[in-house]
Structures are given as C-alpha cells and as structure tokens.
Symmetry: C2
Subunit: 413 residues, 2 copies
C-alpha cells in the first residue's frame, strides 16, 4: 500500500452478464471519483476492456447528475459490457501494450473493473502487467454476479436482487399453479451454471408457505430416476408439485442434463444452456400423466430492476464507493468484498480481497446446506440468504413504468 | 329491474385462468356484500361452479378482515378456480338442478361469478335457468381476463396489470440484450390465444425508448418468410432486434405456428400452446446466424402481483363493489364493464352489459390499430393502453417479499 496521493484520471469498465444492480456499483465508482480531488477525469469504457482497446471512453462529467443517480435503479450495464477473454500477459502482451498506450494517453491512474469471475481475472492480469512495466496505476475489482460465486466475499452484488425476483416469482407462480381443482406439476429453471445459489433462493418463497417442494442444485449429481420418483411422490401426496431446478444440473459423469438439446458456446468456452425446464417437463409428463408446465426464468431474473433488493442496491453502491476510496488511499490489486454478521440483526462490512486469490475460483453452495436426499436446501441457507433481500425499494417511476437512466455517452477526444 | 329488497345469502365463485387482480374484484364483492343489510351470509365457492356442485362453500364472515383486505394484492384466485364446462340448461339440466338445490339449502339469492369469457357464459346459463324455474336470484358477472377480450367493456380487469408487467419486462430485457458489443435477437412470447392485446402492450416499453422493434398479433395472418425478413432487416440495420409475438399467431389457413410442437387441450377444447418463442428462435438463428434467444413469459405475466397496475386494482375492486350494489338495487343477468374517457385525462365509469351479449364473444385488437405491414401497433393502441397501467402501487411487503392473503377457508355446515 502506497501512501502518496496519486493524481490522474480514472476509468471504469463493466464486463460479463449484466445484473439489476451492476450500475449501482458503477454509480458508486463514478460519483465518488467525480468528487475526489486527486482524480482529474472520470471515464466510462464503452463495452469494458474492449472499449479501452478501441479507445472508446465516455466522459462521465458530461452526464446530468440526476441521470447518473438513476443508475441506482437501471438494470444491465449502462456503459456496455463485453465477453472478451484477454490473454495471459506473460504469453501475449499485445492487448496490454495497447491498454498501457490508452492509459498513458489519458493519464489513467485508476482502473476499476466491474464484473464477475472472468472480469476479476482480467482485472488481475491488468494489475500484474502494469506492475511489471512500472506504470503506476491502482487497479480494483468491483464485484458483480447474480451467480454469487466469487471467492472470499460473503455474497456478491447482484445476487440478492435476482434472489428476490426468483423468490417473488415462485410465490406468485405457486399461488397460480395451486388454483385449480385439478393439480399440476410446475418446473422452474433458474440460472446458475456451476453454483446453485440462485436456484436455492427459491426456498425463500417457503417463508410464506409458497415455496417449491423440491430444489435441485448443480453442487450434487442429478439422478433422473430419483428426480422423477421425488416429483411423482409429492404430486401423489399433495396433488401438486413445484420444482426449482438449476440450469446447470448434471449427471454423475459431468454432462449437463440439458446438454443434448443445445449447442454453441459463449466467448469463454462455457456451454450455452437452456431448455432444461421443457425437457424435464416432458420426462415428468410421460412418467406421471399429470399436467406439467416448464418455465425458464431466462434473462428476466438478471435484469428485473423493478424488483431489486434495496439492501443489494445499497451494498452495490458502497462496493464502488469503497473501491475508489481504497484506491485513493493507496491500495491496488484488490477486489471489494463483504464480511457479514447475522448474529444480532444483519451487518455488512466492506473488506478487500487480493485479486490474485479471487480470479477464476467458483464459490459453490456448501454441501452441508443441501439436504441429505439432495432435493432441497437447509435452514442454514435460508438464514444466510433472507437478510440480503430485505429493505424498502423505492423505484423511480414514470407513468406506471420504471424510469431508467438515459446517458448521453459523450466520447472523450 | 325489480325494486324489492331481496333478502338472502350471496355466493361468489372464481373461474378460468387467474390474474394478478381477480382477488381484488372478489374482495370488492365480499366486502360490499358483508356490509349489506339485505345479504344474510357471504359464501365463497371453492373452485368456482364446481364448489357449488360439491357443496363446498366457505363462510367469508369467518375470515380476518385484514387478511381479506390483502386480497387486493394477492394474485391467482384465492377461492380456487375451475375449468368446468357446464351444459346448456335446455339440453341437460342436471348441474342446474344441483345448483338450485344448493342455492335453496343456503337461501342464496345473489350469485356473483368472477371470470372471463367462459365464466360469463356459465353465469348467463345459471341466470337463464334460475329465471326459467322461477327461483329469484340476482346473477352477476364480475369480469376478469388478462386477455382483455370481453365484449362491450373498454377493457377488462386483469389486463392492465399483465400489460404493465409485460412492458416492464420488455424494458428490462431490452436493456439487457443491448449490452454487448456483439448484438443479439430476442424473441419474447406473450399470452393471447386469439386476441393480441397483451402482446401489443409490449409497445408501451417504447415510450421510454426500450420497446420491441417488431410486434406480431394473432388478429392478422402470420407469414414466416416475412417475419424472418423483418427480423433480419432490423438486425442488419441496428445490430440488434427485439420481437414481441403472441402465442396465438397463426398461418393464413388458421393453424397455430406453435402447433406442431404441442398436443393436448384444456377443458374447453382449446389447444394448449407454448414453445413458440423457442421455435421462432430456431428459425431465425438458422436464417441469420445471429445469437438468438427465445423467452416465454409464461405464467409469470398473469400472476405478477408485485408489478400490478394500481389503476387495475382500483377498477377491479370497484367492479366487484358495483356488481353487489347493482344486484341489491334489483339488476340481474348483467356483467359490470367500463366506459372510459381519455379526452381530458382518464376517467372510468362503471356500466352494466347484458350477459347474453357478453358470453362467448371475443373482442380483438381493432385491425386499424395494427400497422399496415402487420409488424407493429399504431399510436392509437398506445393512447388506449397507456392510462391503464398508471398509478402508484403500494405493495404490502414482509421481509422483502410480497405479503399475500392467508385465508382460513372455513367451510359452511
């Protein structure tokens, strides 16, 4: 940690899949940086690291402060996102030379990167490279991922809002699917490729008695026969059954249950999943003869800002703010994270983690929070998750619809 | 219209697919009936007409008034719904004899039926039968349908809340799907078997610049080649394309585009639709090579009470209230409807329609509100729809989640 006051410009980029509150974090960075004496200019990289490589930097001081404040409630990445996989600087430093060139051009001394696992990896590599060439630049990861799978931190900004949307939707669909004199089976697919946090969040709907009967996470192997037996048993007992299932459930050999139905990969080589709910619905329908409906929450769960967690918005904003404050204080190569206390109410403290440790590690739901029969989560999960979705959301509205930020996007010369 | 004050019990039943605000209407009936001098008891039929046939009536006076009030914000049919097709009384009066028996047993003199097209038909038949056998009973339809397809009324309770949810979701998904440096095509399927009102409501998202590029309704024939050409053109021009499509789009010969993928029918002989978005996504992907995502809003759009229209809640409650007041005043065989004025602000007046005229007629989107190229709606639709989703929703919440009504369901002896 260096004690000198580093004077220069700041840039913030957003990367990876968006969330309902990633812009709240960006606003935390932008507002704090705009107010900081030692930060001479604040730029937004258009489409993350790609925007830096292409010299597409937007001057944040040109935006209307009221519109910037609306970023607290605007879903998706307002600066634009990317899925660009940057090379290891030790293997291929082409991109890094270009980044350094841009950093020098604008005298950028503060780099904030707002994203998930892959983004923290990018951030860490940039930090390493700048250090290796002796260019003084404070590099910070500002976390975001609805997947909640970043190392070290109690939870990740974005998760709670998606969790609240999922729990709310389960409550509502549960009321809907119990309405007829003849029962039905409803299978709802939630996001989460390798970590089941979001699917587990469906359990919060159970706090009011409207939760799923069964929950299947990718942390344990999926057994189709057992799944069909579980669903059939509940349906027989209750005349109804609601199931939460993660898109990433897989057989013991590692193949995704949804796999045979899809093809194509995203920019990082992850298989693109989808259609699992429909597939499981087919299997269950054939086995039970019941009315079965498969529902995929799809993109809605990661962009439903109208149903965001007020706690999540506050913590996301503070993550960005903390990153700027810590960078000004001399820290670098870190990610902001949360240390939470649930003993006497809920308290969240902002702490720093080494990017080196965070990058590319996936934090999964602890196995002891999954019931022994692998078809639900325990009270421990609910104790962990419930405080995160609380708070009173006051959504800016206009004529009955959300009022999202409209940025001018004035590009720097 | 009879002027005598009819003394006796009232029963309310709910039928058909639920909505976010059907319980607000039921609450309008229940509260008004509980407060009326001439109504001696208020019963809720468990699962609509089936609950009457099975003598399953719940005593509404036994419920906690605070829980009843929560019905204003509780989705789905709290009394239970059904999809029971009742015979024509002139052809088979078995069910009607049983209904009369139950009505006599509880001295039921007021019958309120809360539902859509098929429910208004049931209601009308009951009215006709009671008249034919000389049993004095005031029969009222209390409308509900997200499909917005009931005859005569300006719009239907339930439509506006689903419309608000759809417009909100389009705004959010639009932000999400425009986030990357590489564009994508997003196809979102909305409910509406024969009428395109809900799909058309996606256009409201355009008021803030986040609307769909293309909208396809079932009021006009669907042409797959033209559809693919439309989508390809927009994607080529903008690098992005968002499409709203009704589940009920059909070819010129009447077959549903989704049809080959589904089988089975609901209790009324309607084909069960679904999977259209995925199917169109496949076609468009093959034609363009673009990243394409199909999203089905599914049940979520009809039960998302957390995103209900405050105007819809108020009008739904008032529909129920008006039905009871009109019945007490001597009217019978009617449905409550709306007559709206949009000239100087928005005003809604409650009017009565003859059930005979309402039953089984489907009100579609006027062809002049669909653009000539059949791929969007006109400003007239937006002028019609925009006022319906306004109002400040204050949702009762508990620990970050909606607080829905919990009824005791005390069955009458």
């Amino acid at each position: 940690m260096s004690n000198n006051k580093l004077i220069g410009a700041a840039v913030i980029g957003q990367s990876g899949g968006p969330s309902s509150v990633i812009n709240a974090s960006a606003y935390g960075v932008i507002k704090t940086a705009l107010e900081a004496d030692c930060i001479t200019a604040v730029y937004g990289a258009n489409h993350g690291i790609v925007g830096i490589l292409n010299d597409r930097l937007m001057d944040m001081s040109k935006e209307d402060p009221a519109e910037l404040e609306l970023l607290l409630h605007t879903p998706s990445s307002a600066l634009g996102s990317c899925r660009y996989k940057i090379a290891d600087p030790e293997k291929d430093d082409t991109d890094y030379k270009r980044i350094l060139e841009i950093f020098k051009k604008y005298n950028i001394r503060y780099f904030f990167y707002n994203g998930g696992n892959d983004s923290m990896d990018t951030c860490n590599k940039v930090s390493r490279y700048m250090k290796s060439v002796g260019y003084e630049c404070r590099v910070f990861g500002v976390p975001k991922t609805i997947d909640n799978d970043l190392f070290g931190t109690d939870h990740c900004p974005g998760f709670a809002s998606a969790a609240k949307y999922i729990a709310t939707s389960f409550m509502e669909v549960s009321r809907d699917s119990h309405v007829y004199d003849k029962g039905m089976i409803t299978i709802i697919e939630c996001m989460g490729r390798h970590a089941g946090w979001l699917t587990a969040a469906a359990s919060l709907a159970g706090l009011s008695g409207d939760g799923p009967d069964l929950i299947y996470l990718p942390e344990v192997d999926f057994d189709m026969d057992r799944f069909v037996a579980d669903v059939s048993r509940i349906y027989k007992e209750n005349g109804n059954c609601i199931v939460a299932v993660s898109e990433g459930v897989h057989y013991a050999d590692g193949t995704f249950v949804s796999e045979a139905k899809t093809s194509g990969t995203d920019g990082f080589g992850h298989a693109q999943l989808g259609g699992l709910a429909a597939r499981l619905a087919d299997v269950v329908k054939a086995a039970t003869g019941a009315k079965v409906r498969g529902i995929e929450l799809s993109l809605l769960q990661r962009c439903a800002a109208h149903c965001a967690s007020a706690t999540d918005i506050e913590e996301s904003f503070n993550s960005g703010k903390t990153a700027v404050e810590a960078a000004i204080a001399g820290e670098t190569g870190k990610m902001v994270g949360f240390k939470c206390d649930r003993e006497n109410g809920y308290k969240c403290e902002y702490v720093l983690f080494d990017l080196e440790k965070v990058a590319n590690f996936e934090q999964k739901v602890p196995l002891e929070w999954i019931t022994e029969d692998h078809s639900n989560v325990t009270e421990d999960f609910i104790r962990y998750c419930a405080p995160l979705i609380r708070g009173d959301l006051v959504m800016p509205m206009e004529n009955g619809l959300p009022r999202f930020a409209k940025l001018k996007k004035v590009f720097a010369e």
